[in-house]
């Protein structure tokens, strides 16, 4: 039983048990609030009975021309609510908004190259490894830029994998 709705500031006070999990980063306030102020449609929370936060997704839409795309900045599910396809639901919602409301060409995300469970999950959701970004995470670990084409990219041009890895300074967007 999941109510998915827009994330609000008060949810920052309620996501404690999700964020205490070491894989979930707790960003500074201006980070969350910038997302809320600019892309409120890309920031959703899933709530269970008793208004418990089960997980949330934050993202944005950016780019120019054919690189106009949705971006998943963070998606997280509390260990208590894992293995129930919640991440999938949240991802699908962001994809739908990118596709239907913002008419983006694709959705992308970054993941640590070593995070095999997450990579597998994204692959199941239809994401393709588009390119490798060398030393993307704190100058140490490589990141993988994964993409999924949306309906506007009829020929799926946006997801043809790049042949060579790139460096973080070659990235178009942060």
């Amino acid at each position: 039983m999941t109510t998915i709705r827009r994330f609000s500031c008060n949810d920052l006070l309620r996501f404690t048990s999700v964020n205490l999990d070491h894989l979930t980063e707790t960003f500074n306030m201006s980070f969350y609030m910038t997302y809320l102020a600019r892309w409120p449609d890309y920031f959703h929370v899933a709530e269970g009975p008793g208004n418990r936060v089960m997980g949330y997704i934050m993202g944005k839409v950016e780019g120019q021309g054919e690189s106009w795309h949705g971006h998943v900045t963070a998606v997280t599910v509390s260990p208590k609510y894992r293995r129930q396809q919640l991440a999938k639901k949240l991802m699908n919602l962001l994809e739908e908004i990118s596709d239907k409301i913002d008419k983006a060409y694709f959705v992308d995300l970054f993941v640590r190259a070593s995070n095999t469970p997450a990579i597998k999950m994204y692959e199941k959701l239809g994401y393709i490894i588009y390119r490798r970004v060398l030393r993307y995470y704190s100058g140490e670990e490589d990141g993988l830029d994964m993409r999924k084409a949306l309906s506007r990219d009829v020929e799926k041009k946006s997801v043809i994998p790049l042949k060579r890895p790139i460096t973080p300074d070659e990235l178009e967007y942060d």
Binding site: R5, C9, S17, D21, H22, T26, M29, A37, P79, P117
Partner: protein, 999 residues
């Protein structure tokens, strides 16, 4: 910053760019050099000056920055040319804001807008200034001007938001909403509306005025198409219909939503509320304070006849069955939980269907009992059951748990769930000791058996059976509570430490350990575990309650200082930057977020923890410097002699305090910082629900903040009173103290006793009787330290009374020596709560009293050169007061010495012996120690091929002795830090004693 290029104040970009680059790369000296050459060419350029001010500010020279800014401002005001551009103004505004002079920035923009009334960019800057100042009326007026000038929808919405904020925050009359509505209607009539967010504002505006029907019309009209996602639109529609009490239409809408998204739990509850024509849920959702999980939402049925109830419940059942059929192949929990909700409503109505309710809960268990969320899913349902039904339900679960056909993970999940249900229902507190112990042993075995399941998991992933160790720990702590056998607690520590050795990421273990370590006085270790939680940013507001109180009552001042600073910095930074983010929401036309951000900022500003931490940070400084009156006076000067805190205390009564802490993560034995069941006896409680403690807390917290914020001023006034008292008494045998100061101190004392629930005279009587032994100090309860503080300042107010000095001395002696006696040679683990009280007595009341004595003696002694000959104290006759001071010093000295002796005795106890004793408690043939026994024998026999190399390695390297030693070392550190404080106090008192020999 780098984006702020352009032709500013007539200066070409190429000349400005290197300066910004230098600022951005923090090469301030270089920036200043470049700027000096720029200024030589453009000495009268306000922009160049603004840049100079910015560089000064960044270099940490706020005074210079302000002077330059003011020069720039003056030039701007004088200059008639068109150099008043947004770039100059916004640069100035950055500096003014950082210097906390928002008003000056606003003044500049207001002036500029007056000079160039049609410049939209400048007006936006001015609007931004008002956003920063939270001046909603001025925001509204500016936005309206902009709307008139440009006719853009967004400016109108800015004005409407500003109006809504006036009504929400300034409690302005709701008539304003009518004005906003009129403006919007007019705009829509001529220009229509183009953004979904604007529509949301329009609807919320109508809702705020209870014009639900109008809102519904808007939604179903052309504008409704602005909302692209169907479910979102339906949700708003359902809410409006329900609020308009058009329940049957609302029911249809909610049905539609449930068909589209059958797992939407909140929607199902709203559906039921509408079906039963029950508005209590809406009241609940209207409460903007609502952030804590709700277990039970009130249900009203009294207005329904039985027939009506039956027919409605059966239509709900039909819907739920349909939803279940439609989602048969999915694993959605919603439609199944809905079935339980229906049984619960029937039960609450009085249908006596408890067995059906239990059956539905059991069905849910059979389907989802292996999931980690089962227990919290059904928590609200368990609450409505009478105790014997709860026990019956636990029995049903045990009976029906699948131990044969199911997979190992299912068995593991179900077993964990059953234990969690037992905890939730309180059932576990009713079991005989032996049964709990046996259950804990069984769980330990289960944990070991299932470790191989996690063999191939990534170390980042949660392991199977992880929760079992938390559950075992909860049982062991309960066993300790009931038997007072420390072995159980030692065992609990070992279980969790082993758990952390196997997987270091489990935050639940860290929190449990943190509380156990705090309880047994191993505070440095508790703090270490807290730090390992990586609490930062907003989590400092929601999570630091786990450690803050213990640290405040400890001698670990350095760590406490850092803790308070980190938290206050986070809060202050947010309160400062919040308005900029609000403006960002305005600019991006996300109007609903504008309102949300302002309310959220208010909420954090009203945080009880924030208020308390600010007071505590001041008190900490006073405590740290109390051994030197000169240092203390410097601290007091920075605190404006405590005046502001007194104001805070006065305002506290009428203030709203918010409770943002997440108490759900606390262990059962300490549901809030002020409560620890382990300090009382098991017999006093039968069941420890994790109640929502906020309501009880509010009054207590308020009173505590009120009380504490009086302290700095009382310290200040006491020093003032004492400064001349002894000299006067020696010279004139007067009563001492300046009259006005004494009067103020008296009135603060009266305020102070009020917060203790007593009158001034009763308070005096109370402490006098306690000092005489006519009353026990247990009557002071948990406010003991506060009462002692009262006694100290009461004495300072009436220094000439020898009797008062005597009362105070006796109080200190009795309270401290009795405690030392009762602790005797107990282990730190069992007497830390007493140590905590001693720490507070020594660092607060005793410290304040020593300060007062310092103030007395200082005034009577030759200090400056000029006084040396004229006022040599040897020539002054002794007075009763000087005798009282001498006695008091003597008494304090020997009392503190007793504390030091006790501490030394503990510290000199060889660490190895203590570790050995700790470990010996764990070696038993029966009773406590069995759980650890299971784990240890598993460690001894486990094989790498079975559990995988990573787990195998952690098992082999974990050492019980290490954990024991760390605990002992941590306890010792607390004692040493405390001893250091005591010794410093004792030295001070010795010094004073020496000085007084001359008087």
């Amino acid at each position: 910053m780098a984006s702020k290029f352009g032709l500013a104040g007539g200066i070409p970009e190429r000349r400005v760019r290197p300066i910004w680059d230098a600022i951005d790369s923090r090469q301030f000296k270089n920036a200043l050099k470049l700027l000096t050459s720029l200024l030589s060419k453009y000495p009268k350029s306000p922009y160049a000056l603004a840049l100079k001010a910015l560089i000064h500010e960044r270099m940490g020279k706020p005074d210079e920055a302000l002077t330059v800014c003011l020069d720039a401002k003056e030039l701007l005001y004088k200059d008639d040319s068109s150099l008043m551009d947004d770039l100059t103004l916004s640069t100035l505004q950055i500096v003014f804001q950082r210097l906390d002079h928002l008003d000056l920035a606003t003044g500049c923009y207001a002036h500029a807008c007056g000079r160039f009334p049609n410049n939209l960019e400048l007006m936006m800057g001015l609007f931004n200034c008002y956003v920063r100042e939270y001046s909603f009326v001025k925001q509204q007026l500016t936005a309206i001007k902009m709307y008139k000038l440009a006719g853009e929808e967004r400016f109108l919405l800015w004005a409407v938001c500003s109006i809504q904020l006036q009504v929400l925050c300034d409690k302005s009359g709701e008539k304003l909403l009518l004005l906003a509505e009129g403006l919007l209607k007019k705009h829509i009539a001529s220009h229509s509306m183009h953004e979904p967010e604007a529509l949301m504002v329009y609807i919320s505006l109508l809702e705020q005025q209870s014009k639900y029907k109008d809102a519904l019309e808007v939604l179903s009209g052309n504008l409704g198409s602005l909302l692209v996602i169907e479910v979102d639109k339906l949700r708003i529609q359902g809410r409006l219909l329900a609020r308009a009490r058009d329940y049957s239409a609302a029911v249809d809408v909610y049905k539609k939503i449930l068909e589209l998204s059958p797992d939407d739990w909140e929607c199902f509850l709203q559906y039921l509320s509408c079906l039963f024509e029950d508005d209590s849920m809406w009241k609940f959702f209207d409460d903007i304070d609502q952030i804590h999980p709700t277990k039970n939402i009130e249900c009203k049925f009294s207005h329904l006849t039985e027939e009506m109830f039956d027919s409605r419940i059966s239509s709900a059942s039909e819907l739920v069955q349909k939803l279940q059929r439609d989602t048969e192949n999915s694993n959605l929990r919603g439609p199944h939980l809905a079935e339980i909700e229906i049984e619960k409503r029937k039960f609450l109505y009085g249908k006596k269907n408890d067995s059906e309710l239990l059956k539905s809960l059991l069905q849910y268990f059979l389907k989802f009992g292996h999931l980690a969320c089962y227990a919290s899913d059904v928590e609200a349902f368990l609450q409505v059951l009478p105790p014997h039904k709860k026990a019956e339900f636990v029995g049903m679960l045990v009976e029906n748990a699948d131990s044969v056909s199911a997979s190992a993970t299912t068995v593991l999940g179900q077993t964990t769930t059953i234990l969690k249900v037992q905890e939730l229902t309180g059932n576990i507190f009713e079991l005989p000791l032996g049964e709990i112990e046996a259950s804990a042993v069984k769980l330990a075995k289960l944990y070991c058996q299932n470790l191989p399941l996690s063999k191939d998991l990534d170390p980042q992933e949660s392991m199977f059976g992880e929760e079992l160790l938390s559950l075992i720990n909860n049982m062991l702590v309960q066993l300790y509570w009931r038997t007072r056998d420390f072995c159980y607690l030692a065992e609990a520590i070992m279980v969790l430490e082993l758990g952390l050795a196997i997987r270091g990421h489990v935050w639940q273990y860290k929190i449990l350990l943190l509380h156990i370590y705090s309880y047994i006085g191993a505070l440095p270790l508790a703090f270490e575990r807290y730090k390992a939680l990586d609490v930062k940013n907003i989590l400092t507001e929601t999570v630091s309650h786990h450690i803050l109180r213990q640290m405040l009552e400890s001698p670990m001042w350095v760590d406490l200082y850092n803790l308070l600073q980190d938290y206050l910095k986070f809060m202050d930074d947010h309160l400062k930057e919040s308005a900029d983010l609000t403006f960002l929401a305005y600019r991006h036309r996300n109007y609903s977020k504008v309102i949300e951000f302002v309310l959220f900022k208010q909420r954090l500003q009203q945080s009880n923890q924030y208020e308390a931490a600010r007071v505590e940070a001041s008190l900490l400084q006073l405590k740290q410097n109390a051994d030197s009156i000169e240092e203390e006076e410097r601290v007091l000067e920075n605190l404006k002699s405590g005046v502001q805190l007194v104001e805070l205390s006065n305002e506290m009564g009428s203030r709203t305090l918010r409770f943002n802490e997440d108490m759900q993560t606390r262990p059962w034995w300490t549901p809030c910082p002020e409560k620890n069941y382990l300090l009382g006896s098991f017999e006093d409680f039968s069941y420890c629900p994790k109640e929502n403690v906020n309501k009880d807390r509010e009054e207590n917290v308020k009173r505590s903040i009120q009380r504490k914020s009086l302290l700095p001023r009382m310290v200040y006034l006491s020093i003032q009173c004492s400064a001349t008292a002894l000299k006067e008494s020696l010279e004139t045998k007067g009563s001492g103290g300046d009259l006005k100061t004494c009067e103020e101190l008296k009135s603060l004392l009266e305020e102070y006793t009020k917060t203790l629930g007593s009158s001034f005279s009763d308070a005096v009587e109370m402490i006098t009787e306690i000092s005489q032994g006519a009353r026990t100090f247990e009557t002071l309860g948990s406010d003991l330290v506060d009462w002692l503080n009262f006694a100290v300042f009461w004495n300072a107010w009436s220094l000439s009374s020898q009797e008062h000095w005597h009362v105070l001395n006796m109080l200190f002696e009795r309270l401290i020596l009795d405690r030392i006696k009762s602790m005797g040679s107990s282990e730190m683990s069992s007497c830390y709560s007493d140590v905590q009280v001693l720490v507070q007595i020594i660092t607060e009341p005793l410290a304040w009293h020593s300060l007062i004595i310092q103030a007395c003696t200082r005034s009577s002694l030759p200090s400056g050169k000029k006084k040396k000959k004229a006022q040599h104290s040897d020539h002054l006759p002794s007075s009763p007061m000087s005798q009282a001071i001498k006695d008091s010093i003597h008494s304090l000295c020997s009392t503190v010495q007793e504390v030091s002796n006790w501490l030394l005795n503990k510290i000199n106890n060889p660490e190895d012996d203590q570790v050995e004793r700790f470990l010996t408690t764990l070696k038993r043939n029966e009773g406590p120690g069995q759980v650890l026994g299971v784990l240890e024998s598993f460690i001894a026999t486990s094989e790498e091929s079975e559990v995988g190399s990573r787990i195998f390695e952690s098992l082999k390297t974990w050492s019980k002795a290490d954990s024991a030693r760390k605990t002992v070392t941590a306890q010792q550190r607390v004692l040493r830090e405390f001893l250091q404080i005591c010794e410093s106090k004792r030295k001070l008192l010795e010094k004073l004693k020496q000085q007084m020999t001359h008087v």
